[in-house]
């Protein structure tokens, strides 16, 4: 099982959980398990072409998957996958 850490802004789309445990051989498989469990997360993580959005970074343990094998990066037991979205803080722009 790998642990996926859900950041605060996305928790509302993940049943308000901060951590979800999932199985999968690769980061892509784990994330696909996550978005099939929580359908609303999909559009926040992926664009219409099914690619990870550029303002959502995914880390396998402490390494950005862009510098590993991207979504094919192999996941081991007890690995931690972090979703780290861009946050700006402060003023309102709605």
């Amino acid at each position: 099982m790998a642990k996926v850490l859900i950041p605060t802004p996305l928790r509302q789309f993940a049943g308000k959980q901060d951590t979800v445990e999932l199985t999968g051989m690769t980061v892509g498989e784990v994330l696909s398990g996550l978005t099939s469990q929580f359908g609303e997360l999909r559009k926040h993580l992926y664009n219409d072409e099914g690619k990870l959005r550029s303002y959502v970074n995914v880390y396998l343990n402490d390494e950005d998957i862009r510098y590993l094998d991207k979504e094919s990066s192999a996941v081991k037991e007890n690995d931690t996958i972090s979703i780290v979205p861009s946050i700006a803080g402060g003023a309102s722009w709605k």
Binding site: P7, T8, P9, Q12, D18, H44, R53, S54, Y55, N57, Y59, D62, E63, D64, R66, Y67, S82, V84, P85, S86, I87, A88, G89, G90, A91, S92, W93, K94
Partner: protein, 381 residues
Amino acid sequence: MEVTLSKEEILRYSRHLIIPEVGMEGQLKLKQASVLLIGTGGLGAPLALYLTAAGVGRIGLVDFDVVDFTNLQRQVIHFTSDVGRKKLDSAAAKMREINPFVQIDLHETALTSENALDILKNYDIIVDGTDNFPTRYLVNDACVLLNKPNVYGSIFRFEGQATVFAYEGGPCYRCLYPEPPPPGLVPSCAEGGVLGILPGTIGLIQATETVKLILKIGQPLVGRLILYDALAMKFRELKLRRNPECPVCGDHPTVTKLIDYHQFCGVPQQQEAPKPVEGDIDPIEVKARIDHRDNFQLIDVREPHEYQIARIPTAKLIPLGELSKRLSELDPSVEIVAHCKSGVRSAKAVALLKQSGFQARNMKGGILAWSDKVDASVPKY
């Protein structure tokens, strides 16, 4: 001219001077340093207070805002009596009181592509305490172009991020996030809220890194992104790398001068009020219809915790996120009027309801307008 410390300054900085890693040499580095704080809000407040106390020789502030009551919960440099005062004047007054040996330069302006390079070029270190994506990309690009470190921090609810960008060949903000999220996808503090203490923690991480860069001691927070979770009370560290294909700091940069960052971020230049849409209904008319016992249903699409702060008594609470699943609770034979805080979410609710075959109208200006026009006893938040 050789820079020295006066007798008063030596006494003031004695707890620095007796640390071997700082000492007289370090304190003189602080005195000769110049730091620009962009924003004097949640992050800028603790930064300004501590960097002033530490004896940074020249501190610049960029802000054009005025202190309001909702700032006081976290922007600790501004006091209750400062409400209505320019943030720059309010901040500078406190800083002068803390340390009269610091020179304070005030830039009363919004940072723009036209003025950014001129303002930033006069400082050694830039600290980003802004609150919006366009300014963050602007600060980043200007720092890369001027080859100045950008001490970055950002916050949301209970979580914060901090790192140092554009320092001696290290990664920049665009290496981390090549593009901003589309407007509206990531809630701001005004919509999402922020724990008042959080910017204190993140702002002081930025202040710590600023002082370390000036003193050239320790390991700078370069190539590492700190993630702080206040609820779990955990700090995590992720690796950051310079992206060789980064459009600004990469091997073949395509952005070689400042661009239009509002356009880049898809944000309209001015904060426009939502355009009146055909069929929007004024709160006064809604009140009249309630009083006449007209047959319609008022729904409140805000979140339950907002409903606890302020509500319109006859409104039925159905948060926007639950609306599509709770349509069966609504009567398709009567008109539905939706409201939220200011009218943005309820416009989405109206669109969803119309798609589902309901007759629906949006109450203009939300419960804030209700408080202004109908019932002043309803608190604003």
